[in-house]
Symmetry: C2
Subunit: 553 residues, 2 copies
């Protein structure tokens, strides 16, 4: 219920409906009842539906052609208090909106997001379960800590000192299902990740989790393309398959990131060869290193933003830059040609010993933001650019000790068939059968063909990763018991839906999200519990103050 | 892969297929490869599908009419070791089967159970989402402890002393969704309950969780009847709706339980009036109490089981019992008439001060077990008897202190409209709008119309239950902000599926169940973690031994 006077507006799950209060004496009781009802009360109204008078239609509303002339009315629940005017609510702080989430849920946008999410997931289920023979299997969330699972929440059990762990994904279970002959598995899986405070991450999130036996990379990719096409909401236009594909190396070289936003150009260009003959000292320094390069991006119309600039193309076609005096005429022309520099474009250069070129990758995105802030349209908000990124390295040097290797994704990822022999000679050179799905520069999914050979799996765990394979003995045993070749993928549902509806945060597509500190501001979770409540779990709190006190004494 | 010699049997998700090994020289390599492959290896075979020779068809197998003559074969993964012969597996202990769950999953029965479960849930989703406009909304599982939530697992957070709780159901969230205008909600919800060791309970389980606005008890019941009819597997025969209904009082009086198995008779009969005139001392004693009654059940052909007996009907129609000498002729006839006693029937009596008569209720079920063990068929294993049990009391006396009241179900249950005024005068007499769904004597669901009036909810919490309503302040505030009348239900999916497939335990319809001690025997969860891993959560283990030591000093 909303509004007063001759008209009222009723809101239900289908939207808003205009209610006319008859002004005659016979309806004075109804008029009084409805006029006095507080805004946001719940009312039941009966009446006559009729077309609005000509000229009073509202084409923006689905119910804008009709109105209801009230006959009877009943207040089902009067609204006693609101923390604020609902109209102003959208302008309030997000903390307040999360505290009164049940009010925020009444907004058109959240209703739309949650209902569309439900429909998309339903279509995905139809595609997987009804059209492709997948079996929806629920896997446990009370499991045990995976090796290195530092981001896993713990759940104390009633056995002293023993804890369950809330896993980050059903990875082990889905592989065991393949060994168990459930050859096509899927689950809309709740996953948990304790990352402390990180913006736009949620401690619990949802993934579309898929695994198949007797499948290769192309098989999974084709399935996912079909899945997204089938479940894609009509109102967002059709999507074209197959999705383009790019190797990890190409992505880094051209975009400086492994999740390129391909809605716009501004690719990174290697201009090492052009500048090799220059006398610029820092360029020569950079090029003298093993992986030394000079790379550049050309920002079209970059002068409209005055915040980042380096080399500017003047209207007469010459370059304005601190560098131009050091560059010959020929080098300038080559640069203009290589980067296809136009008038008012800005060129950014980065010189150094880099394989990833992530600095230029970030500058590319920041430049796009700046250009759009200045009024240019670089990224069509209605465009959806899917991209597969493939041929990732299987292992990466550990950040804390680059002499040791860690899995680029997880230890179950199979090596690229072409590189299998390198696994035993030079594991750093092995590419994997991992694939990421990227949408508009966001990673929305990732998966791989898995190792199904127990010896290979043991070699990776023990010899390459130097890990204790004992904790994974059940998985190794399973691989020895007749495991089919298999692979899978997981799509990040929250992120995918937020991109589809154009929401700025995944919190806008989750009914009851946590704040970025992992708090539920409505119910006030997490919260203190009494020592008695901890007793059955054989744990006690180590209060930081108490610790300090203890150390003093 | 299974079998050797001239024939092999291949197993895939569609079942078993007979493979013929050609005995000619050209196929000697293939023959050798397949003959030497260990049982349960994964192989790829190409060949010619043909009808089996006349007389060699196997009508019991879906693939029993065909065989495949091998052309080529490839071992995709050789089975290195099995902890036991797969054929003997079913006879092994359940602990071993749970340790090697991935092998157990290959059995026909588990494949059938998991695949049927997936199909039934998919049909339920179609019914709710596509046919009835329900919105599938995911609710948080990291929430805060509910008042009296002693069975909730705790999850330590990174804030010292603060814990999340894994809730037993999304009860609060689904009501808040109604307040938020998501007027038809459903979720296949993971729920958690820490009950320590209890047979056939799982620490995590699944319920079909439903809530609707603007609905009454009949509305929810009709929805659920339609849901079950729509999703019921064809191979189990049709089910008839509407389901019969029985009040809580009737269920206790006639069956001695609130979840009667109505597949067979043997109802409890009150014979107080017949025996009131007898001289039997213990009967007179019992009848002198306020709720004193004498009740009986008649076990048809009860003499076939010699374990329980009391009053036996002789072939000449007279009764044989220790009591008969104390009963007059007329009383014996009345007893025979009232209980419709036939030759060889056994009558069990219970006298005492009882409202529930749960002793006779248990004896009724035990007698049925004994009779069936003796070869009689009382309960048709293919029959499905649904039953609504309604009009539960809203409050029950607390077991530890009968002067205080607790909610029979939960504090959000609405009082029966007829009894609303009693809430303020004599709450013990108030019936609720709670309803249970019973299938073959098992509670498979329960729900209620909820309180939508904040004042009434506050009265129940504070005045009747004497609870601190502060912890539920967000819910009370929500009821004041325009909450529609609403109600819902939750179906226990694991139990429902186990009854449909006729499994003895819910563990047989769960892919990776926990043992009755809450352990995962395959992955060995829960498990010890290091003190360093506990540090971010500000907790430490209170070792029982250390405690003992501490007390000594």
């Amino acid at each position: 219920l909303c509004g007063q006077g001759l008209f009222l507006v009723l809101r239900d799950f289908q939207g808003l409906t205009q209610i006319i209060l008859p002004q005659d004496e016979a309806h004075s009781h109804v008029r009084k009842l409805l006029s006095n009802a507080p805004v946001e009360s719940v009312v039941r109204v009966t009446g006559i539906v009729s077309s609005r008078p000509p000229g009073q239609e509202n084409p923006k509303m689905p119910t804008g052609d009709i109105e209801v002339k009230v006959e009877t009315a009943e207040i089902l629940n009067s609204c006693k208090k609101l923390p604020f005017e609902i109209k102003d609510f959208i302008k309030k702080s997000e903390a307040l909106r999360m505290q009164y989430r049940y009010l925020d849920l009444r907004s058109f946008q959240l209703q739309y997001n949650l209902r569309l999410r439900s429909q998309i997931v339903m279509r995905m289920r139809e595609y997987l379960c009804n059209l492709h023979g997948f079996v929806d299997v629920e896997t446990p969330t009370l499991f045990k800590r995976t090796p290195g699972g530092a981001k896993e929440f713990l759940v104390p059990s009633r056995e002293a000192g023993k804890f369950y762990s809330l896993p980050q994904s059903p990875q082990q279970f889905k592989q065991l299902l393949m060994v168990g002959g459930v050859d096509r598995y899927f689950q809309v899986a709740r996953c948990y990740r304790d990352e402390g405070s990180r913006p736009d991450r949620q401690p619990e999130f949802t993934q579309i989790d898929i695994e198949m036996s007797f499948v290769d990379q192309a098989g999974i990719q084709g399935l996912i393309e079909g899945l997204l096409q089938y479940s894609w909401p009509q109102e967002r236009g059709a999507i074209t398959t197959p999705f383009p594909s790019m190797t990890y190396e190409e992505a880094l070289a051209d975009y400086g990131t492994d999740k390129p936003d391909t809605r716009f150009g501004m690719k990174i260009v290697d201009i090492s060869d052009i500048l090799r003959r220059s006398d610029i000292q820092f360029v020569q320094n950079a090029l003298s290193y093993p992986h030394g390069t000079v790379k550049a991006i050309c920002i079209p119309q970059g002068v409209v933003s005055d915040e980042v600039m380096d080399v500017i193309c003047r209207p007469d076609g010459s370059l304005k830059s601190l560098l131009t005096k050091l560059l010959g005429k020929e080098q300038q022309s080559e640069l203009i040609r290589a980067l296809n520099v136009q008038v008012d474009d800005v060129v950014l250069l980065a010189a150094g010993e880099h394989k990833r070129c992530s600095a230029l990758g970030s500058l590319r995105l920041e430049s796009a933001d700046l250009l759009e802030a200045a009024g240019m349209t670089l990224r069509d908000p209605t465009a959806f650019h899917f991209l597969w990124v493939v041929d990732f390295p299987l292992f990466l040097p550990k950040e804390e000790n680059p002499a040791e290797l860690e899995s680029a994704h997880h230890p179950f990822t199979a090596p690229h068939p072409v590189d299998t022999n390198l696994l035993y000679s030079d594991p750093t050179k092995v590419r994997s059968q991992h694939y990421d799905l990227v949408l508009n520069g966001n990673e929305i999914g990732g998966g791989s063909i898995r190792i199904h050979n127990a010896e290979q799996q043991r070699f990776v765990l023990e010899k390459v990763l130097k890990e204790d394979s004992e904790v994974l003995s059940h998985l190794l045993e399973a691989l020895e018991s007749g495991a089919p070749p298999h692979g899978g993928i997981a799509l990040g549902l929250d992120r995918l839906i937020s991109l589809i509806v154009g929401a700025p945060s995944i919190r806008d597509v989750i009914a009851f999200p946590k704040s970025f500190r992992g708090r539920d501001l409505m119910g006030n979770a997490p919260d203190y519990v009494t020592p008695e409540e901890l007793e059955p779990y054989h744990i006690q709190v180590s209060w930081p103050v108490a610790e300090t006190e203890a150390k003093k004494n």
